[in-house]
Subunit: 319 residues, 5 copies
């Protein structure tokens, strides 16, 4: 595994970490076709927990088999593969040496009824990640939820343990619950805040959703206006989020959301690239498509992150 | 104990587990008259906790004595015997070498009043299973309950400890509580979801109820219709559940439910067999019958799972 | 200490326990005038916690002194003495070698206001029992209480620790709270259920109250009628409870309740003896009487359990 | 340090404790001008937590300095000095060898709003007491509070740990909250019950308030009347409380309450002495007076407990 | 690092601490331009957690980068730099040897909705502080909050662990929640009480806000009037707070609050100096100004604490 100068530079931002953790970060940054570029495309398969097996896998029934996904990630030349305990156990023996595995530590499900205090069950432990040869743990927080502080308390312990055992930590930061409006969940101020909280918690890689230009909090709106902060285009907003994660000293990647048209997926990738984001985490949009279509889509996304392909018009306002 | 090719193939699906756990899975798969076939019939006696001693054992008072059940499981040539701590302690010294024992870790009871947050007390520990020479732990979850996340949190720790100590883990996944309708508890979408959650939690063997063709969740109903998923017969639905447990890479067995006519019990076995399920867990229908009747019934069920006996008409729609 | 054949036979029912625990069971079974018979009479002094010192000891002020009770138990030739931490600490140095001590691990008190979720404070630890040379721990559960599952969770840990440290475990199983009616607390179906739960939790000795012939739960009533279960006399009901504790493979003793006439106390003993119960735990009825009266009463009770004395008419229906 | 026969006799009541704990009890009983008599006068300074610094120390501003109090206790020839963590840390290095220190483990404060479930924060650990060279821990319980069982659960662990580390344990038992009436907090039946609970929890020294002749609980009232219990004078009631702590086999001391006239303070001391109590714990009445007045008051109190000085008339009814 | 006589005298007040903790206190007291004077100016950057990144850093976008703040603290010659886990991790490798780092252990955020039970998430552990080479931990309590006791319980454990590992402990004591009025949060009686609680919890350095002359509690008001306590000027109130922290035997520093005019900031510094406080903790007022303005402001504040510069008129009433 060749560690490029670009990756060495990124690792310098994590110089308080021990060699084991930095090596696992390097593994994710140096695996696959984007290896060495500082860009990441990760395949997450946590939909089975979140929406059940039928909604997740019936559109492409090959996905009922855990091996399908790990092999898809390898064949597409991705940086890493993330899933829940049972799914990772089903592939770790065969794939841990082929592609960095990310063990998702907590999960929600749609059988559990919703509330103003959304939370998740913790479904795996750091020692599971260690025994399964994973490179990182993954953990979701819901900033704004009435359960948010408990989720942070649990994250603190998991992230501390992961670091002490040479693993990297990736935080999915999804604002919801409490007094947040539905529109506010994707508001740019809230998304920046959520990304910043994950960075403050010590996450190595932060995963947020692509924000809208809505602003949720009045106190924040005043600042956006007074300081004339540019959030007009999606690329601008990516750039703003990058600033929120220690001015780009933490890796930040964006999720693709629900299954949607391929054009929209490529545009997201292009905007992330243009805004200086570190990559994309893309699940349903690939594993719910037939394998050949998925490989084709991932090939094009990787092309965008390699800077070899451009999608759509360059967002002028972002320049 | 001869480990057949069929069993070796099944164990390959568990290759992230350590040798101790795989050996205990093999013990269950290679014990009794179904030994080596990949099929399992297990005797569970947890009714005393759930319904009290009188409702459980008065119909066949020999069952008040814990030794009765262990001996019944041995004499019938079953794969394993499952019960609560006190019942297992009463037989472990004598039977642990004769038949794999499964220590049920949690239990509910009908003295505890019901609520939208049903849960169970944890009544045994993994170290109890170890000291009593058990092959596996058993644990019930109630997906959908307002207490479901706490049950998953506890299961995570128990399953992790069991694996680290060389035991197998069996999860009883029974949806209930929360916003689930009564009919929804047996709905096919919910049952598949419940089986999938157990698989994601890292269960080696998953136990669910045989589902009806009712569909509880609107989002799921759309997918069943769009993808034209076949759930018409009971065997079809078994096949669907098998898919939900990693496309059959996890063992799934089905429970017999309340005492009912023998014909109905045999039909269940036949449908499980036809749908590719791994077996049956059958309690009240055997231990509440006189011993000779119970042995006769289990003999016939085993015959069905050996493929030597057919019951009723083959469900045509399932072909 | 001579271990009789009768005691060896009883110990065979506990053969999953380690030698330390079996030795402590044997100590209780072989101490005092009933030593070796398989019968037990135990003096419990937990009234100070439950009702305060004045209601407990003012009727016989000698009882304010903890030494009084331990000496009474020794002088009466009882099998064991049970009390709370402070009371046991006050006598352990002097009496641990003279009579088996039982450390009561939890207690309620009448200063705490009642609710539908009755519970108790845990007031001692297993290590206290070990350092004080006790033979057993005692723990109360309230099956039916909205706090019952938490009490079982705590009991699980205490009983596991006690067994691992060579102690025996005695469970006081008193149904109350939740949806139980007041009359139901002593109902025969509930009492059998409560005794069975204690057995399933792994208790070595189970203590319940003598039940009435009332039946609380409709589902149970059907079975009592259908199976024509004989619960007419108190001795019949004792026999029924014995069945509920693994068909007599667990020791079961009965409590005497509030201070009452001597005749009633003797009748209880006789019924327990006739029904095959293992003995009596008798507190207020002895320590609230003057010492000489108490010794006389205990002498007669022991006579009944030795089969040397009969009290009242034999309950004909029980034959 | 000379251990008198009187002290040896008291220590015999604690013969289940290890030598370290007995040595620390002996240190408290043998320090100061009352050393060796079996009587104790202790200076507690926990008012800062309970009422804030201004209400506590402004009347005698020298008391803002923690050293002032430790020196006062030494100069007055008291048995021990008790305070919260920060106050003890401020003097331990200098005073731990001069006078036994008691580390108060929990505290309330008047910023916290009151409820029917009063409780306290636990503000120090047993290991703090060990590292600071303390002789004992102190802990407050509120029998009757809806939080009482949690307080007892915490006390159980602290007292067990203290004993295992050779420390003594002092319990402040103050009934309040729940269904208790305001008048009932000082009722003689409740005070005796509270003292008894502390003894049952394993306290070496019990601290309660001087009770009134009010009786709170109806069930208790019947016994006081039936058994004709003498609670007419304050000395009678002290004698009654002494009975409630294992007939005097546990040390019991009484608190002085809010700042009041010197005459009233002396009368309390005299009544405690006459009733056979083991001493007084006196805070605000001394540290809120100028140092010379405080020393004079403590000199007189010590005189009363030495039996050299009598205050007021002997309460005739108490004879 | 030269430890002056002044610092040695301060360290004498902490003589129950171990050498490691005292060395870390000395490091903070002897670093920077105020080194050796007993005065402290600390830069805290916890606004990102509390108000989000935009409100915190957009006014001076250089502050998005964690390194900016650490370098500002070094260049201004401050005593220490405090921030949350992620921010400290981003600079520890480079700065831990240059300036004492304080790891803030808990944080709130404005996404979490407010209540009468305000609290914070615990976002770092003591072992994090150790591995990152920090000199101290920082922890916020909210005296008065319905969650205050839980915050104190957590603080107890953190402070104990910090001391056992040779770190110093700084407590931010901010009254709020519960029954406190909004005006009461800054009331002089409440502020003194909050400072005292922090001292009692064992804090080495206490950080409170500068109080107003409002008095919240009636019982306290009586004492202020009766004892004629001087709280007229801000310097008087500082002097009063100093008294509340063991008569000055604990270090107490004051926060600057929200961004405000420079004159007001200097006046605060002057009043703290005049009242005998130990220094200032000043965040937004410096890092939200351009770097040169911030350095200029900090230079002047340091001048005031060195006694070389006076700001405004001396508050006559305070003399």
């Amino acid at each position: 595994m060749r560690v490029t100068q670009r990756v060495h530079k990124i690792l310098d931002n994590y110089n308080s970490d021990n060699p084991g953790t930095k090596a696992n970060l390097a593994r994710m940054l140096c695996t696959g076709r984007l290896g060495g570029t500082g860009k990441l495309v990760i395949l997450p398969v946590d939909q089975g927990f979140e929406h059940g097996p039928v909604r997740s896998f019936a559109p492409n029934p090959a996905g009922y088999d855990p091996v399908y996904h790990a092999q898809l990630a390898v064949d597409a030349g991705l940086n890493a593969y993330a899933s829940a305990l049972g799914m990772i156990e089903a592939v770790a023996d065969q794939y841990a040496a082929q592609i960095p595995l990310i063990l998702k530590m907590n999960s929600s499900n749609t059988l559990y009824r919703s509330s103003e205090a959304p939370t998740q069950a913790i479904t795996a432990s750091v020692d599971d990640a260690v025994r399964l040869g994973c490179a990182a743990i993954g953990y979701t927080i819901y900033p704004g939820s009435d359960e948010a502080f408990n989720m942070l308390n649990d994250l603190r312990e998991l992230i501390r343990e992961a670091k002490s055992k040479g693993l990297a930590a990736i935080v999915w930061s999804y604002p919801r619950g409490g007094a947040l409006s539905k529109e506010g969940e994707l508001a740019v101020d809230i998304d920046a805040y959520a990304a910043h909280i994950a960075a403050l918690m010590g996450a190595h890689i932060i995963k947020v959703k692509l924000p809208t230009d809505f602003i949720e909090q009045d106190e924040a709106k005043k600042v956006y206006q007074k300081e004339n902060i540019n959030i007009a285009t999606q690329a601008d907003r990516v750039r703003h989020i990058v600033q929120a994660v220690f001015n780009g000293k933490r890796l930040v990647i964006f999720s693709g959301g629900a299954m949607k048209g391929a054009d929209s997926v490529y545009q997201d990738a292009q905007d992330i690239y243009d805004g200086g984001g570190n990559g994309q985490i893309i699940g349903r949009n690939t594993f719910q498509r037939p394998r050949e279509q998925a490989l084709e889509m991932l090939d094009r996304i990787i092309g965008i992150f390699l800077g070899k392909v451009r999608h759509g018009a360059v967002a002028q306002a972002a320049e």
